[in-house]
C-alpha cells in the first residue's frame, strides 16, 4: 500500500465515538502557522542589513505571498475538496515549511530572487491551500453553528501574527551570533516548527461519516429564505450574481480595514503629534491585532444567531458611522475615542473574513463551499492593493495640497465610510440563487453516492 494513502479522504472518516471538538484545534494548528504572514514585516529591517536590499524590494516578498495565497485558493479549491482536508493540510505544510527553507538559502546566498520564490511563491501557495483546507470540514462538523466553527479557525490566522512576531524577534536575537542578524537560522527553525505543527493538524483532522449528525440536531425541514439545503457547483456558482455581490462585500469590507492596519502606527502619531510616542503607537497596533483576532470569533459566532446578511449590515453601517466619527475624534484630541473607533472597525474587518464561509454555505450549500470560498478569496488579493493605495495616495495628495499631517487622513476616512455604504448596498441586494443554478435532485443523489458530504 502506498505510504501516502494515509492522507486519503477515505482514511479519515471519523468513528461514531469521535468528538467533533477535536476538529477546531486541527484547523487552528494550520491557521496559527500560516497567520505568520501578517508578521513578516519583522524581517524587513534585518533582511535589509543582511543583503543591502531596499525596503521597497523586500515589500514584494509579502505582496507576492498574498497574491499567491489568492491564486492558490482560487485554483486549488476544487482539488482541496476532492482530496480531503488531510492531504490538503499536509501539502500546505510542505509548501509553507519548504518556502521558509528556500528563503533561508536565499538569505545565506544573498539572493533575493530565491526569497521571492521561497516565501513569496512557494510559501504563498502553502498559505492559500492551508487557508481553505479546514473550512468546509468545519462546516460539515458544525451544521448547527457553522459561523462559530469557521470563526474559530480563521481567528487562528489573526492569532498567528501575535505568536510569530515575538517568536521571530526572540529567535533572531538568539541566532545573531552564528549568522548575520540571525535571519537564515530563524527561517530554518520556523520552517521546521511550522511544518511539524501543521503536520499535527493534518493528523488530528477527521471527516464526519455521511449519515453523521450532531446529537440533538434536527435539520430544518424547509429552507429559510437565505439558507439553502441544496447545492451549487463551484463552476456554476461563479456564474451567479450572488457570487459577485459577495465578492464585493468581502472586497469592500477588507479594503476599509487593511489600509488602516498598514498605516495604524504612523496615523496615530500624526493625528496626535507629541501625544502618541513610537512605543505607544506600537501598542496601538498590537491592540488592533487583538481586536482583529477576537472579532473573527465574536462576529462569526454572532452571525449564527443574527443571520449572515444582518451581520454584514452591522459591519457596513456601524463601520461607516465609526469611520465618519474618527476625524471628529482627531479634532477633539480624544485618543480614547480614536482608539475605540478603530478597535471596533478592526474587529469587523476580522469578522468579515470569518463570516464569509458561512455566508457562502448559506447561499450555495455545503458541497463545494471550500472551492467557492477559494475563488472568493481573490477579493482579498484585490483589497490588499486597493486599501493601502487609497490610504497612502490620499494622504500624500492632502499633504501636497497643504493640509496639516494631523488632518491628512480625514478625507480618507470619509472615502472609507462611502466604500462601506457601497458594500451595504451589495449586501442588501443578496437574494437566494436562481433555481436553475442548483444541482437537480437526481444529480444530488448521483453525486452523493461518490461524495459523502452531500448528505450533511
Amino acid at each position: 500500500m502506498n505510504a501516502l494513502s494515509v492522507l486519503d479522504r477515505g482514511r479519515i472518516i471519523a468513528r461514531p465515538d469521535y468528538n467533533r471538538w477535536l476538529v477546531p484545534p486541527a484547523a487552528l494548528a494550520i491557521h496559527l502557522c500560516i497567520g505568520q504572514a501578517y508578521a513578516f514585516s519583522v524581517f524587513n529591517l534585518p533582511l535589509s542589513k543582511v543583503g543591502g536590499w531596499k525596503l521597497t524590494e523586500l515589500g514584494w516578498i509579502f505582496t507576492l505571498a498574498i497574491v499567491f495565497l489568492g491564486l492558490a485558493a482560487a485554483f486549488a479549491g476544487r482539488w482541496v475538496e476532492d482530496q480531503g482536508p488531510r492531504k490538503a493540510m499536509f501539502t500546505a505544510a510542505c509548501f509553507f515549511g519548504g518556502g521558509f527553507l528556500l528563503s533561508a538559502l536565499g538569505t545565506s546566498l544573498h539572493n533575493i530572487w530565491l526569497i521571492y520564490l521561497g516565501y513569496g511563491v512557494i510559501g504563498g501557495i502553502g498559505l492559500g491551500i492551508g487557508y481553505i483546507s479546514p473550512v468546509s470540514t468545519l462546516i460539515k462538523w458544525f451544521p448547527d453553528r457553522p459561523g462559530m466553527a469557521t470563526g474559530l479557525a480563521i481567528m487562528g490566522f489573526g492569532g498567528g501574527a501575535l505568536i510569530a512576531s515575538p517568536l521571530s524577534v526572540f529567535l533572531m536575537s538568539r541566532y545573531a551570533s552564528i549568522a548575520p542578524e540571525g535571519v537564515a537560522p530563524t527561517f530554518v527553525t520556523l520552517g521546521v516548527v511550522y511544518f511539524c505543527f501543521m503536520l499535527a493538524g493534518a493528523i488530528m483532522v477527521r471527516l464526519p461519516a455521511p449519515d453523521w449528525r450532531p446529537q440533538g440536531f434536527v435539520a430544518p425541514a424547509s429552507p429559510q429564505k437565505l439558507i439553502t439545503l441544496r447545492h451549487v457547483h463551484v463552476d456554476q456558482a461563479v456564474r451567479t450574481p450572488q457570487f459577485y455581490l459577495l465578492w464585493w462585500v468581502l472586497c469592500l469590507n477588507v479594503t476599509a480595514g487593511i489600509g488602516v492596519l498598514g498605516q495604524a502606527s504612523a496615523m496615530s502619531q500624526e493625528v496626535f503629534p507629541g501625544r502618541v510616542s513610537v512605543v505607544a503607537a506600537a501598542g496601538f497596533v498590537g491592540l488592533l491585532s487583538l481586536f482583529n483576532m477576537g472579532g473573527r470569533f465574536f462576529w462569526a459566532s454572532a452571525s449564527d444567531y443574527l443571520g449572515r446578511k444582518n451581520t454584514y449590515t452591522v459591519f457596513f453601517l456601524l463601520g461607516a458611522i465609526l469611520y465618519a466619527i474618527v476625524p471628529s475624534a482627531g479634532r477633539a484630541g480624544s485618543i480614547a475615542l480614536f482608539v475605540a473607533c478603530y478597535c471596533v472597525i478592526l474587529s469587523m474587518y476580522g469578522g468579515g473574513f470569518s463570516t464569509i464561509p458561512a455566508y457562502l454555505r448559506d447561499i450555495f450549500g455545503t458541497m463545494h463551499v471550500g472551492a467557492i470560498h477559494g475563488r472568493l478569496l481573490t477579493a482579498w488579493s484585490a483589497a490588499g492593493v486597493f486599501g493601502p493605495v487609497i490610504v497612502n495616495y490620499m494622504r500624500q495628495y492632502q499633504i501636497a495640497h497643504g493640509v496639516a499631517a494631523s488632518a491628512a487622513y480625514n478625507t480618507t476616512m470619509y472615502v472609507m465610510a462611502s466604500l462601506l455604504l457601497v458594500g451595504f448596498l451589495c449586501n442588501l441586494l443578496m437574494t437566494p440563487v436562481h433555481e436553475r443554478h442548483y444541482y437537480s435532485i437526481e444529480e444530488e443523489i448521483a453525486v452523493g453516492a461518490e461524495a459523502p458530504e452531500v448528505a450533511v
Binding site: 484545534p25 501575535l162 488530528m204 501598542g283 498590537g286
Partner: protein, 37 residues
C-alpha cells in the same frame, strides 16, 4: 474509560494550540498596555 480517553485527547489538542495562542496574546497585551501609560 473511553470518555476519560476522549477528555484527555481534547485537553491535549486544545492545549497544543491554546498555549502558543495565549502566549502570543499575553505578549501583545504587554505591548498594548504601553498605549495607556
Amino acid at each position: 474509560m473511553r470518555s476519560t480517553s476522549t477528555a484527555m485527547k481534547l485537553a491535549l489538542a486544545w492545549a497544543f494550540v491554546g498555549i502558543p495562542l495565549l502566549w502570543g496574546v499575553a505578549m501583545t497585551l504587554r505591548n498594548a498596555i504601553k498605549l495607556f501609560e
